[in-house]
Amino acid sequence: MLILLILIPLCLGILTFFLPEKIASIIALAGNCITLVVAGLLYSAYSHEGSYVLNQPWIPTLGASFHLEVSSGLQILMLILTALTFPLIALVSWSKQPDQSNRFHALMLLTQAGLMGVFLAKDALLFYMFWELALIPVYFLCSMYGGERRISVTFKFFVYTFAGSLLLLSAILYIYVHTPVRSFALNDFVAAGRSLPLAQQKVLFWLMFTAFAIKMPVFPFHTWQPDTYEQTNTRVTVVLSAVMVKMGLFAVIQWLMPVLPEACDYWKNVVMILSVTGIVYASMLAMVQTNIKRLIAYSSIAHIGLMCAALFSQQNLGQQGVAIQMFNHGINIMGLWFLVYMVESRLNTQKLNEMGGVAKTAPWFTIFLVLVSLANIALPLTNGFVGEFVMFNGLFNAQTPYRFGLTIFAGLGVILSAVYTLTMIQKVAYGEQKFDFKDLNMQEFIVMGLLAALILWLGFNPSILMDLVSLNQHAFLK
């Protein structure tokens, strides 16, 4: 079952390259849906039987194995999020296919395969391979579809993240050399990493964390993101923002914290201070953006900052909150990008001051815009609230003398997020009617309705998420 999650998108992705454009979109959507069903089956199997393993020898001479395993609720959440994102993208943009849609869908499917691999791999070399595999198709997607400055922006994005990846690779190799039996398996890495003297752990921490921090991104490694989000095609932005940035957080939880626990403890204050600075800094920048995509990009940086801070609070509570929020942030930011996509496809602009007054002709659009925005600022009874509340509690109880200051400073994000989000709603939807803005079509309505249902249901009754992250806290914090 695990291998299907990778194989379906991988094989269909390769196949789709050679299909005519009309069939390609249908095959891609069908493939996406099958993957989603498999992910759903995996979830139900997991909640009954617990972990799933697939462990085959891969490169025996190096000690690398093809080791996929689902052993934590966080993995399930990330797999479902990945499986859910792609069909929704395909559906919401169904009526307007991109140029050379076969190539586009093929690359999207390959990206999905890479992402699934990242969330499944329990072998360091395999993990690294998928980490890069997810990046390469995205590089092509970004450079072939998007705005005018896309080439230079994507080049920077690629070099930046790739530089991070190299640091990660060097750390992986260093730890590999110190494993007792020369193996890439996560368990051996955990043993090897912990046996290293603290001085070495401290250096290794930065090699790995820099790679992950660029991906998330955490202040001050974030400058590639607003440019990239602005320039890429919004369909691709969804992938980057809803799923790919979670790779960084996920990797910290799955790899960095178990392998180098002492170094994480040693550097936690630095990371928390950076993250919390990022919350306020990015929120302030979001307030003065004139481009809606940049605004959402900075908003996302602020949210990720809170997650990273809560993660390094080293509190069980905070980390469980992060796991919940990683999923919910994925849902909410996806909703926001879809709405941006609808605005772009109707008005052909990203500039906030060229929008306005659409509430009159597009009531459903406005309702969804308000709802998703409120979820984005974590209003209670939307899915954004519970995770944020739990994360704040975790941060507040962090074992550090700065905990009060960090919480209050992070709390400023609660206020500032209201400022920029409500300004965004006001500029997009309110005011005198300027255009004949068409309300949602059928596909858009289905997608947004589904997201809205998730937002409200998970906001009112989040126990389904809670059970996933709390039952498996042992696996979660191994």
Binding site: K156, V159, M284, L285, G357, V390, N393, V419
Partner: protein
Amino acid sequence: MLNLIWLVPLLPLLGFLTTGLFRNQLGKSAGWIASAAVFGSFIISCGIFNELRGSASEGFTYHVLDFIRLDSMHIPFNFYVDHLTSIFLLTVTGIGFLIHLYSIAYMSHDEGFGKFFSYLNLFIFSMLLLVLGSNYLIMFIGWEGVGLCSYLLIGFWYTNHDYTNAAKKAFVMNRIGDLGFLLGMFLIFSKFGTLEFTQLPELIATSSVSNSYLAAIGLCLFIGATGKSAQIPLFTWLPDAMAGPTPVSALIHAATMVTAGIFMITRSNFLYSLIPDIQHIILIVGLLTALIAATIATQQNDIKKVLAYSTVSQLGFMFMALGVGAYTAAVFHVITHAFFKALLFLGSGSVIHAMSGEQDIRKMGGLKKDLKITYFTFAIGCIAIAGIPPLSGFFSKDEIMMHVYSSGTYGKIYWVFGMLAALMTAYYMFRLLLITFFGSFRGTEHQKEHLHESPALMTMPLMLLALLSVIGGYIGIPAVLGHNLGIHHALEEFLEPVLVKGNTLHHASELGLSHSQELVLMALAVLIALIGIGLAYNAFKKYNPSKQSSGIARVFEDKWYFDEAYDRTMVKPLFHVSELNNEYTEKKGIDGLVNGIGKWIQYSSQKLKGLQSGLVGFYIFLMVIGMILLFVSQLWFNKI
């Protein structure tokens, strides 16, 4: 009846969904459906009230679901009903129902009719969650929920940029307070591991937590209250909130939502009774707010703005009561204020309706001829709020001032300032009454022809609320007056189980006041109210609308420049720094550094490329230099 408690919030929620989803199909019936939903809640609330009246039991808890269920955090989604809750249930659903009815007529020409009622129902639902929550978190859900509804309803006419700005301002200022509420919850949970109202009193009483920690909790929660209940420094959103339709101002921004802060602090009386320093802060903030808002109200010319500042000022009185631990008095004033302020706002709505949307009192005048019922009921509201016995405002205000008078060392000084605010209350209300309803009409000819009394659907609620404003005070007759008649302070007895011991200082004898002292204070209060009315009559029996205010009056008219000060010291600098960050720190600084590193690598590899010249001699030369360096370094290291 208590087992049906889940229906109380559910009915308005269903009303919200029905009227929201089918707003285009339902037409005018949306208003009736929404009203019926609230009426259903009201009936059940009456039943609950009746059931609790006889018993002095602890509250009743109803489990809905597990909201947060993690290994180290368990917070249920529970309802908790006790005497305090049931009073607020009655106020919210009762007044809410009347305002729903009124709105059916008031909003009948608006194209957003269905939307309006769905928002109103959503508000009632949120407000009920707020008062029903069994812990701070559920209360907070309702707390933010009412903030959202307030935002949606202030910006109801979304094409107007000023209105949506006012809506945004209300939401953001509330959020500042909400951060305080959140921090309070973090502090509580971190120490006590629970947020339940049923468990915290005992935990706090028996714990060894330092007093400063408790004070921090109390202060944070109070900051939350200043946001929602429009106290200094977070009060400036409320007058702007008058951009919403008038029934909204009556329901949300006068009678119910803004009293949430008073409810929350009364609910937390087990905490505040242990931290007198914070109580003192509450008292002073309440007093300052009451005074400053009253001064502003004396100089406003927008009928709704006068009432808005009056609301801020009256909320200040309630906080004064909380500050001296007179929780019953605070709740008493919440109730009577809900009656007469809802009445006054609805009355102003009736005036605005008749004046085709005009809100400036300088352009009104002489309306009592054409709007007889509105005038009559509005006048009752004015008398009630001014504190003339035997109307309701007298009793509740008197009870508060009595407690303030007998509190602490400075109680008498605070009493004097409080009475000054009361004097201004009588003055600005009668100023409003005289300018609006007396004298000659100053509007346009078109408006004059159009003048008419509002339909029965609007005047019925006015008359009912007027009746309540008259008799509402009888739930809290002070002992000195009621003793001989055999009447007790009904509210006080009813609320007794809610308050922790030591917070039930209520009888005048316990306050250290003799009966004669108490009677003298009452007489003084009445005298002061009469002076206020007299001053207003003297000044406005002949009104000259073109007179410009000057000196200190000018400061009052311009609202003490609070908005301008906030704008200069907070908003503008914040945006300015953000712009600078965007322009310099971000683009030139951080991103510049990243690009710089990239450029530097490109540049140096460009230079290094020159080394690969292809000349064998050059390579040999480099090799020799390398070997010499190696040799030297070897020597160097060996020596050490």
